[in-house]
Symmetry: C2
Subunit: 149 residues, 2 copies
């Protein structure tokens, strides 16, 4: 690969957008997590897997597809599923159509825990995001972030 001529200046708007993107979201996620944990429930990382499964047909998704949906790298998802399975919240079953793969299946325990967590989670989202952004702003934010993926 030829080293391209890299200019040493970037636009202020680009710098500002990057700094905001880099710093703000983790802080917001941490606040949401802190609220949920203080009530004794799951982190959002765990929750989101259960949520994705709860929406999937038969509470079942192939691990590969789960990673793509949740934007989680393979090696991280692999161990995240390990932890969820160790808690009995999901199960890994061989994928019928592909001997390499696994379907991740939501257990009853996982389904119940997700449902129990939801009110606390929803409340955290209302307070951390709903109270700070109008509905219109929420839509704009979704749209802008979608362009970056």
């Amino acid at each position: 690969m030829v080293a391209s001529a890299t200019k040493t200046k970037i636009a202020q708007e680009l710098e500002d957008a990057w700094v905001a993107l880099f710093r703000a979201p983790p802080a917001v996620v941490e606040r949401v997590n802190a609220r949920i944990r203080s009530e004794g429930f799951l982190t959002v990382e765990w929750y989101d897997v259960l949520w994705a499964l709860a929406r999937a047909p038969a509470g079942r998704i192939r691990q590969r597809d789960l990673g793509k949906d949740l934007l989680i790298a393979r090696y991280n998802l692999s161990r995240l599923i390990d932890r969820l399975a160790a808690e009995g919240l999901v199960e890994r079953v061989p994928c019928p159509a592909d001997a390499r793969g696994f379907d991740v299946v939501l257990t009853d325990k996982g389904r119940d825990l997700r449902a129990a967590t939801w009110p606390v989670y929803a409340q955290a989202l209302r307070e951390e995001i709903g109270s700070r952004l109008s509905t219109d702003e929420q839509c704009k934010l979704s749209r802008l972030l979608a362009k970056l993926v």
Copy 2:
């Protein structure tokens, strides 16, 4: 604390905004980091500390203020500074005005490494963000994310 009556529904816009906020930024940051690391340079987490110091008067900021600027939790910043100091990129010196505190000072080595990293970093930002969002969109994104902090 009295358990507040928590509704079990939230608006679709809020859910979408949260999901985007939760998933997209880490993926973008990881892509930027991968580019920079593939060229043998610093992760953005390290870079941003050096950057903040390079902008500060005399290349020097109190650790507490650095944490607030960068939105890094105390216990994480403490160890991040440890690592940077172990590499000789910064130094910790007692804060003259407050015996509890430390000023973090950029070393010559840190200054040089930051400068050397910049072209690669800037190029990564142009490609990952500049090419996906217009200047106007970049401004909107900054503004929306600022509201969440």
